[in-house]
Every structure is written in C-alpha cells, then in structure tokens.
C-alpha cells in the first residue's frame, strides 16, 4: 500500500518535472533545461519515449526468462508470469511506437521512416503479435505454455540482432546510429544536462517500478482466474 503511494508520488513528480520545467536558451537556475537546437520543446519526449521502449524490451526478456523457468520446472505459475509480462510488453511497445511516430511526424516530417530503430520496434511488435496468436491457437494449457516458452526463447536469440546491433551499425535518424556526429552510443551520454539526466533516470526507474507493480497485479489476477477455471 505504502509502496503504491510512494510510486504514485514519484511518477507524479517525474511527469510534472518532465512536462513542466521550462526549457530556456541560457539556463540560469537548477530547474531550467537547456534548449537543444532543432529540438526545443520537443526534447521532452525522451522522458517518456525511452522508458516505454526500454520496458518493451525488459518485458520481452522477463517473458523469456520465465519461459525458460517454465521449461525447467513445469510450474504453471511461471507461464502465467511469462504471458503477463508479454502482455505488458505489448502495451509498452505500442506506446513507444505511437509516441515515436507522432514525434517523428513533427521532427522528421513523416510518421514512419524505416530508420533501423523503427524497424527493430516493428519486429518486436510482430513478435508480440505472433506470441499471442500462438497462445490463442493452442487449447491444451501445458502445450500452450511449452510452445509459447519455446517461441519466446527462439525469438529472443534471433532478435537482439535487431534491437542492439543493427541500430548501432546502420546509419539512421535516432541518436547513437552510425555516422552520428556526436558519436555512436547510447543517447544519454551526450547533449543532456545534469538536471535533465536526473529527470530522465528517475523516469526510467519509476517506469520500471510501475512495470513491476503492473506485472504483479496481472500475475495475481491471472492466478485467480487459473484457480477458478481449474475448480469449475
């Protein structure tokens, strides 16, 4: 209970700071963000877009880890967690795609450009879609759990190529792509003033905590449904 309230306060602070703090040309005070040429107010996306994209990958890995655990121990609980994590991952993946596409329309001129990172999030969406169509196509519970675990592992070994390697070795629009004048690397290493960095990392942490809380909620509901079904 107290943790939930604390998380609520933290998220509120992050959202207020991310949206409310002024962006000015010459920052004088600790609460003013420096203006980045070409981005200005649009720079605020980083506080929301990056955490959602990060969570869509974290959820995918969580789903895979619990898939492996299921194959090891055959505990239906692990499959519930795996599926719940994948469901949340799909949600965050859609959020990251939509926020990114809307932002790209205003900053890069079109909703979709097939930039390497856009390709990778698209592939992630496809995998989530495939994962759930597989789950809905198998009726026997154990079989469904096994097959979807196997599929998520199979996807997890082929896909890192897209999410981690390709956006860095190919030229693209996102920061950190090859040929970026500020160096190919994670976006947070440059152009970000210390106070922005604080907000950014608080946002990342609080979104991750939000994910953990949502996951535990979903697992609990899924567990109840599971027990109701096996009783009835």
């Amino acid at each position: 209970m107290i943790l939930r309230v604390l998380l609520g306060i933290l998220l509120t602070l992050v959202i207020v700071a991310a949206l409310g703090l002024p962006i000015v040309q010459q920052p004088q005070h600790w609460y003013e963000f420096p203006s980045i040429p070409g981005l200005e107010e649009k720079a605020r996306i980083i506080f929301f877009h990056v955490p959602t994209a990060w969570l869509s990958v974290v959820a995918f890995l969580t789903s895979m880890v619990f898939g492996i655990r299921y194959l090891r121990r055959k505990d239906p609980e692990d499959d519930l967690t795996s599926a719940s994590a994948a469901g949340l991952g799909l949600l965050f993946c859609v959020l990251a795609t939509v926020t990114g596409a809307v932002w790209a329309k205003f900053n890069w001129g079109s909703f979709w450009n097939w930039d390497p990172r856009e390709t990778s999030i698209f592939v992630l969406l496809l995998i989530y879609g495939a994962y759930f169509s597989l789950r809905s196509a198998v009726e026997v519970e154990e079989k469904r759990a096994t097959l979807s675990s196997v599929y998520s592992i199979l996807a997890a070994v082929t896909v890192p190529f897209f999410i981690f390697i390709m956006p860095r070795i190919m030229t693209g629009l996102h920061p950190g792509a090859a040929g970026d004048p500020d160096g190919a690397g994670p976006v947070i290493e440059f152009k970000m003033s210390p106070n922005m960095r604080v907000v950014f990392f608080s946002s990342l942490i609080s979104f991750t905590l939000l994910f953990i809380w949502l996951l535990s909620l979903r697992v609990r509901t899924a567990r109840l449904e599971y027990h109701l079904q096996s009783k009835g």
Partner: protein, 231 residues
C-alpha cells in the same frame, strides 16, 4: 568406447531413416513438391503481370526474388511435422526414435526441399524476369546457399511448433516472419550487392551474420526440440 560409438552410429542411422522415410513418402505423394512448384510459378507470373513489360531496377528485383522464396517456403516447408500429426504417426515416431534424430532427419529433409525450392526459383527468375542481373556471381551463389540453409533451419523448428497448434496454415507465416527477418534483410542486402557488382570482400559482413544466424538457430532448435516433440 565401442558402446558409445554404436550409440552415435545408431543415432545417425535413425536420423537418416527419418530423412529417407520423408523423402520416399514425398516422392510417392509429391504433395510438397507440386505445391512448391505451382507456388513459385504462380508468384513469378504475378510479378511478370504486375511489371507489365516495364523493367524494374535490379535492386528491387533482388528483393522480389526473396519475397517469392519466403512465401513459397511458407507454403511448403511446414509439411514435415504437420504430416506426422495428420497421419497420426507422430506417437510411433516418438517411441521409436530419439527426438534429436527426428529433428536432424526433418532438418535434412527441409534442407533438401529448401535447396530445391531456391534453385527452382532462381532458375525461373533468371529466365523470365528481364533486368535481373547478377554482376558478382560468387556473392550471389554463397548468398543463395546460406539463405536456403537458414530458411530451412528456422522453418523446421517453427513447423514443429505449429504442428501442435490448431490453425496451422495461417499461423506458420505469422510465427516465421519475425524469426526470419534478420535472415531476410541480410540476404536481400547481399543479393543487392551481387546485383551491383560489388567485390566479394564487401559482402563478408553479410556472410558472417548469415553463418552466425544459422549456427544460433540450429543450436537453439536442437536444445528446445525435446520440449515441443515430447508429449
């Protein structure tokens, strides 16, 4: 020592037996073969109609080649495991043969089918599509070889997964596409390089990706196959 050797020998014999069984039943029914041939012919003629005598750039045509191969593979390569489910022979195979050998045999069969499919597609494509030129033959041949191996490897394990699901036909491309995307993008790039006449060394990066993809997929498949196959 001799006991271990005989185990390995028995395993290889079992894998070959599975392969030969599939091969013979394929020769008798010609189900997958006729489906594949018809699919390739249909798709290439649709491409010809849609081009309508107008040429497209070699880069576009290089990509289209893999569109044909991908969808043809989706129509034919899933048969290996679905066949066992349909005939109800899966259980006997499970009892008689170690699961690793089953996977190896099925993989061999799909490799043969995939190689035949790519060969047929490439020959028909080169004959009928005007403007499809390959300037660096060495890149093209290696790409075709590695591409068909990777395609067969990934589609074998997905075929094993969907054989246990309800909606087999539609699910197959849905599950395969994300897994095959790294492979498809790399082979399309390499084919473009071949069409552009790039020197062989320029495609080395693509080949490394392809080889590591094949190794990873086959390794993971053999590790996971047991869970799918055993009831």
């Amino acid at each position: 020592m001799s006991a271990r050797e005989s185990v390995a020998a028995r395993w290889i014999r079992a894998a070959l037996a599975v392969f030969l069984k599939d091969w013979r039943s394929e020769l008798r029914t010609r189900y997958a073969m006729s489906a594949l041939v018809m699919f390739v012919v249909t798709t290439i003629s649709i491409i010809l109609f849609s081009l309508g005598g107008e040429g497209a750039s070699p880069e576009v045509l290089a990509g289209m080649l893999w569109v044909v191969i991908f969808f043809a593979a989706m129509s034919g390569l899933s048969r290996t495991f679905v066949m066992e489910e349909e005939r109800g022979t899966g259980m006997t195979l499970q009892l008689m043969t170690p699961s690793g050998a089953v996977f190896a045999g099925k993989l061999l069969f799909n490799l043969a089918l995939g190689a035949g499919l790519t060969l047929l597609t490439v020959v028909l494509y080169a004959l009928f599509i005007n403007g499809f030129v390959v300037r660096t033959l060495s890149i093209f041949l290696v790409t075709i070889a590695l591409g068909s191996i990777g395609l067969a490897a990934a589609s074998t394990i997905i075929a094993a997964i969907i054989a246990r699901a309800n909606t087999k036909g539609t699910l197959y491309p849905v599950l395969s596409f994300p897994i095959l995307l790294p492979l498809l993008m790399t082979v399309i790039n390499a084919t473009r390089l071949a069409a552009d006449g790039a020197p062989f060394s320029e495609a080395a990066g693509e080949f490394q990706v392809l080889i590591s993809y094949i190794v990873v997929v086959i390794t993971v498949s053999t590790m996971l196959f047991d869970y799918i196959w055993k009831d």
